[in-house]
């Protein structure tokens, strides 16, 4: 981070929040399955993925706090911002739905983040490169695990295939937002700190295509892709999630736990 200009620091802070929020919210969603998964193996796998994501969120928030330089901790950033200040993708805040929705959401996100982190391993920002080095392996595992389930359910029974198709139809609306660019991503891409999200689309398409061809699924045409998460414009579910997530810190402010 040393040597970044003030503008670049600001962009970097914003990026770290976005990525941190993505990881925390998806990690939270995945953790909601805990003890309620369809089989014991998934009662292990889902918290495992949740842990990867919450671990990434912690690193990202901690670094965000350093970059910002106002002394905010990982917990300040996670627990003391409201709905409108959260920067996560709409995809990750979508309710769990059934297991088909949950696994497809995981695949979509991981298929984006795996190449994202892979590119970030060469970041000019060493701290971010360090976070990426660990995260890229985790995301590769998420792709494998979720991808296998998408294949099993897509090419399973008639009922499971129908559910997979519903999930594809539903979550398709939230795909494009991942690849969105703006002044923040442009500045960081130009500075060699973080990849241009738009450039990762071919990678993502390849991964999804590979899984979908085995799963008998097709990517839908989406007339009106949804965006807004990066600007803090969320759906109605996020507020309820935050009411749970933040309850203790809001009720007992400023204590050690």
């Amino acid at each position: 981070m040393a040597g970044h200009s003030p503008e670049l620091r600001e962009a970097l802070f914003e990026l770290l929040l976005r990525l941190g929020d993505d990881c925390l919210i998806l990690g939270h969603r995945v953790s909601e399955w805990c003890g309620h998964a369809p089989m014991l193996e998934e009662d292990l796998a889902l918290p495992n993925m949740g842990l990867d994501l919450i671990g990434q969120a912690r690193s990202l928030y901690t670094y965000a706090g350093e970059v910002e330089g106002n002394g905010r901790t990982e917990d300040d950033l996670a627990y003391l911002r409201n709905d409108r200040q959260y920067r996560n993708l709409l995809l990750v805040e979508r309710p769990n739905g059934d297991f088909a929705h949950t696994m497809l959401r995981q695949l979509y996100f991981a298929a984006f983040m795996e190449p994202y982190w892979r590119a970030t391993c060469g970041s000019k920002d060493e701290t971010l490169a360090g976070i990426a080095g660990k995260a890229v392996k985790e995301m590769a595992y998420h792709i494998r695990h979720a991808g296998q389930w998408v294949i099993r359910m897509g090419d399973g029974t008639q009922g499971s295939a129908r559910r997979m198709k519903d999930a594809v139809e539903e979550l398709g609306h939230y795909v494009d937002e991942m690849f969105g660019t703006d002044a923040v991503t442009d500045a960081l891409a130009a500075a060699g700190i973080a990849p241009d999200p738009a450039a990762l689309r071919p990678d993502w398409d390849r991964t999804i295509e590979m899984v979908f061809s085995e799963a008998n699924l097709k990517q839908p045409q989406i007339a009106y892709p949804q965006r807004g998460g990066r600007d803090g414009l969320h759906g109605e579910d996020l507020g309820h999630l935050l009411a749970e997530l933040q309850y203790m810190q809001r009720t007992y402010p400023g204590l050690n736990w």
Partner: protein, 315 residues
């Protein structure tokens, strides 16, 4: 006759019994019951703690709790695998749990209304579990003993983590300290009940001792637990909710008050605070997941058929 004697000799010689060894029906039955019950306890035990995953007060605690609950699922998995070596399938055991035929540790029929309960469960419940389980690492049945070694290692990590949560609260604000004390008040007696009925009322104990499935009596283990835990509470500045609990110089142990065995049996028989909710939760997970399990099976069959067809075509 001769077989039973030979079997007992192996046991007495501390030989491990392995899955394919001949064993008396009662030995097998006792083990299936005990390992199953133990596995179910791990699975149901995910629920009271899982209740706080979405509300954990910091990210560090959230991650640790998630990891802990995941470990419990893992223990369930090893234990079901150990039971499977005795010829009973996981589906069968699950159905027995859901029908109420198989039991699980009654401690998980108490609710977790406060964050402090996450600490207290680690400290007391995992603490009591370890007391129960350390001797099982030397259990005569090999697969169970080996599963327990792994389980015990993780449980003691959880126990320390739980104690550390309670310590943070006990050293925290007045309301945090109050939370910790309230939680100890609610969990103390149920934790003591985890060791099972008093020796004089314990149905399965004697034979289990002879078969070295069990190595200490319920009361012995309970006393060990009390002796280890009361000083920890004192160190935290918390009070065990038992006015009769005090150090007895003569016996070299802590005395304790009478346990409310009516409460114990009430919960065992399904009358605890959370019995119905726990089973309803597990049943919902199992029923809602049926289509997923079916899809996985159907897909595996399709794959097998396709590979078979490819093999035939290649010949």
């Amino acid at each position: 006759e001769a077989f039973l004697e030979a079997f007992q000799k192996r046991i007495d010689a501390e030989e491990k019994i392995e899955p394919n060894d001949p064993m008396p029906g009662g030995y097998r039955k006792t083990l299936v019951r005990q390992i199953g019950q133990h596995a179910h306890s791990e699975i149901v035990g995910m629920l009271p703690e899982g209740n706080w995953i979405t509300r954990a007060p910091t990210l560090r605690r959230k991650a640790a709790l998630l990891a802990k609950v995941q470990d419990e699922g893992g223990h369930g998995l090893y234990l079901y695998a150990a039971a499977e070596t005795l010829g009973v399938s996981r589906e069968q055991m699950t159905e027995e749990l859901l029908s109420g035929k198989a039991k699980y540790s009654s401690i998980f029929n108490y609710p977790t209304p406060s964050w402090a309960d996450i600490g207290t469960i680690g400290w007391l419940v995992d603490g009591a579990a370890i007391m129960n389980q350390i001797p099982l690492c030397r259990c005569s049945y090999g697969p169970y003993a080996r599963a327990m070694i792994r389980v015990c290692k993780e449980e003691s990590f959880h126990q320390r983590q739980g104690y550390e949560i309670v310590m943070t609260l006990a050293k925290g604000s007045p309301e945090q300290k109050q939370m910790a004390q309230d939680s100890l008040d609610r969990w103390w007696w149920p934790a003591l009940m985890m060791f099972g009925p008093s020796d004089k009322d314990s149905a399965h104990s004697e034979q289990s001792m002879a078969w070295k499935i069990k190595r200490f009596t319920n009361d012995e283990l309970r006393q060990q637990f009390i002796d280890a835990t009361v000083p920890q509470a004192e160190f935290l500045g918390l009070k065990v909710p038992d006015p009769d609990c005090r150090w007895n110089k003569e016996t070299g142990h802590y005395d304790h008050g009478e346990i409310d065995w009516d409460e114990f049996w009430r919960v065992v028989k399904g009358g605890g605070r959370m019995n119905r909710d726990r089973i309803a939760d597990r049943k919902k997970a199992w029923d809602d997941g049926a289509w997923v399990r079916e899809a996985a099976l159907a897909h595996a069959e399709k794959r097998r058929d396709r590979m078979e067809a490819a093999r035939v075509a290649a010949e």
